[in-house]
């Protein structure tokens, strides 16, 4: 795994030391909250509804066992014994005390982790396919690219005060698991005539004005990546709207001025930058490449699987690995009725142990709020499964109804307009029978507690957005969204549902799908695309109207 350099280490330690001083000055009264707030946000510290929250960066979702174990230690020592994995592949601690945060940051630095650029109008933590380096369909591991962008964008003086936050995602596989079309910049690694390069997508994003990204460059040679990204950022910095927060993302610039205008500006800027660009120093390229070399694969005899529980687990929670004897295991953080994305410190330690013993010391956090063991030899599956089961981590529901994304919503988030977590818990309980979930098949439900759409509801098959209407929580449904390479924004179904009506409405939608599907193989999304919203609308609202009548 990639190891931080001495430069990274010194930089992070210096930032912790600086923040320690800033916290002391806030506590002594030397800094007002107005002065302190931007400083704490630059170090990942938010003030939420009931407490502070520390958001820790997990670059491109990759962790090793020691890092996961340290997160468990931090959860026990300074928080309430758990952490929340987010849709940005990060982890959040929900209950830190202000005076403890510098110590938490020091403990993170001990394992080359930090909370820098997890907030503010800068280039945020770069995300990547959570199966990177392992998936059979991968053209190339996207993490060296993500790491190069991390190094380039960290504390980049020109891009520290962008018009708004800026999110970059990279995938190395044609099956897009990194939602690249819903990012400010999405990079898809491709090959043209055997030459590696990138398809560059810009202007995607969810939130208040959801948009699918547009192709800015259909083939960017690999060596041009940094000057080209720099050109995009420079154009955005210069032309992005700073007059209106809601119109400041690059997607609005592209929407208002058109992708062609953007392209000609970027091309002009690129020509200028490229002339002065000497290329990424070879030792940096080598160092990054060396950090992502595949592990030394082992050989072992694989016994036939007889345990029906393990068989179900393999069906849903594993994915094809590029090595035939290996598999990718997704650990569900969506136990029935549990909070999506939460793991206790004990569970984190189990995952750390399993990574070290059975996954070449690698873990990944997925944007779907699960944790991945990317390299498990099939011979080790029974041992991995048993250990997960003992830790309450073996729910065989990946990709099914209860594998729900839910943002923290009004249980934690100060910006929320409604709660998300209890809705996810209720849906999960309603479908607690895993056989029933398997019968329904692949279905992505995603819930956001406000228009900011951290729960990615726009790209869900069934999206749920929590709003306030007339002083109560109200939930709006969108259908037909898709976060893959065929990205689509879901369509709004109609008026919102009250908190006690939303889960029955979702159940009616799923029942309608089961009636409508042509074969058990036709998925919810395929059925929706085939028949359109009308029958789903009728199913969702009929009973409400009948009750009202």
């Amino acid at each position: 795994m990639y190891q931080y350099t001495d430069f990274d280490e010194q930089f992070v330690r210096a930032r912790v030391q600086e923040f320690r001083g800033q916290v002391e000055r806030r506590i002594s009264g030397a800094l007002t909250e107005d002065e302190f707030k931007p400083l704490r946000l630059m170090n990942g510290l938010y003030l939420q509804l009931h407490a502070y929250m520390l958001r820790v960066a997990v670059p491109y979702g990759t962790l090793n066992g020691a890092q996961m174990r340290q997160l468990a230690y931090i959860a026990d020592r300074w928080d309430k014994g758990y952490g929340h994995f987010t849709t940005r592949q990060n982890i959040q601690f929900n209950w830190p005390k202000l005076a403890d945060v510098p110590d938490m940051l020091d403990a993170l630095a001990d394992v080359s982790m930090h909370a820098i650029q997890t907030s503010g109008n800068c280039i945020r933590n770069v995300t990547a396919d959570h199966f990177a380096g392992a998936a059979a369909d991968e053209i190339e591991d996207p993490r060296p690219t993500a790491e190069l962008i991390r190094q380039w964008s960290t504390d980049h003086p020109e891009f520290a005060y962008l018009p708004r936050k800026f999110k970059v995602a990279v995938t190395g596989a044609p099956n897009d698991r990194a939602v690249t079309k819903a990012h400010d910049i999405g990079l898809r690694m491709i090959r043209r005539d055997g030459v590696p390069g990138y398809e560059v997508i810009v202007g995607g994003g969810l939130g208040r004005t959801p948009m699918i990204g547009k192709v800015l460059n259909d083939f960017l040679p690999r060596e041009d990546l940094l000057p080209y990204l720099e050109a995009i950022l420079a154009v955005y910095n210069q032309h992005g709207r700073r007059d209106n927060k809601y119109k400041a993302r690059i997607k609005i610039l592209i929407h208002e001025e058109g992708v062609e205008t953007m392209r000609s500006r970027v091309d002009a800027e690129f020509a200028r930058i490229k002339a002065e660009f000497d290329g990424v120093p070879q030792h940096v390229v080598e160092r990054i490449r060396a950090g992502f070399l595949p592990p030394v694969w082992k050989e072992a005899d694989i016994a036939p699987v007889r345990d029906p529980g393990l068989r179900s687990f393999i069906d849903t929670n594993t994915h094809t690995h590029k090595q035939a004897d290996y598999t990718i295991v997704t650990i569900s953080l969506k136990g029935i009725g549990e909070t999506p994305g939460d793991a206790t410190s004990d569970q984190m330690r189990v995952m750390a142990d399993l990574a070290e013993r059975f996954s070449h010391d690698e873990l990944r956090v997925s944007h779907e709020q699960n944790v991945i063991l990317p390299h498990v030899h099939k011979a080790d599956l029974p041992a991995v499964y048993d250990a997960l089961r003992a830790a309450g981590l073996a729910t065989a529901n990946i990709g099914l109804v209860s594998d729900i994304i839910a943002c923290p919503g009004m249980d934690y988030c100060a910006l929320a307009t409604a709660r998300s977590i209890p809705i996810a818990q209720e849906i999960s309980e309603a479908f607690s029978d895993l056989d029933r979930q398997r019968d329904v098949g692949p279905l992505k439900i995603k819930i956001s507690g406000c228009i900011n759409a951290c729960g990615h509801h726009h790209v869900a098959h069934i999206g749920i957005l929590g709003l306030e209407k007339k002083g109560v929580e109200s939930y709006q449904i969108t259908l037909g969204g898709d976060g893959t390479e065929n990205a689509a924004i879901g369509e709004r179904l109609g008026p919102g549902f009250a908190a006690d009506e939303i889960v029955p409405a979702v159940e009616r939608l799923i029942a309608a799908y089961l009636d409508l599907r042509l074969t058990p193989q036709e998925t919810f999304l395929e059925a929706y695309v085939r028949v359109g919203p009308a029958p789903f609308k009728a199913a969702a609202y009929d009973e409400v109207q009948a009750n009202a009548a």
Binding site: L47, L49, H50, A51, K80, M410, D411, R419, I421, G471
Partner: protein
């Protein structure tokens, strides 16, 4: 008191712990029911100013509407404020949950 005025309280977050607090007669409390109630706009502004002057202890004070129960104690009006009195709904470990055992 003008008829249209809805009684208000001042709430904020504690600087050190970040938890929800309410302005009282003599300081701050974790309990909504202890909050000092403003019965006019000018009282509300005065209370807010008092809170803002204590920036060493608290963060982000604001006025929130309240209703008085039969005993004259304030209770939250908006559901967000109700959640703030209780802590998160997924775990019973909000700061307010801790108060039950006090």
């Amino acid at each position: 008191m003008p008829k249209s005025f809805t009684p208000q309280i001042v709430t904020a977050n504690d600087l050190m712990l970040g938890d929800v607090i309410y302005l009282t007669e003599g300081g701050w409390s974790r309990r909504h029911g202890d909050a000092l109630v403003a019965r006019s706009a000018s009282e509300a502004q005065e209370m807010l100013a008092t809170a803002q002057a204590q920036a060493l202890k608290i963060v982000g004070p604001y006025l929130a509407d309240t209703v008085l129960d039969d005993a004259g104690r304030p209770a939250p009006v908006h559901f967000r404020e109700a959640f703030r009195t209780r802590g998160p709904s997924n775990y019973d470990h909000g700061k307010q949950a801790d108060l039950r055992s006090v």
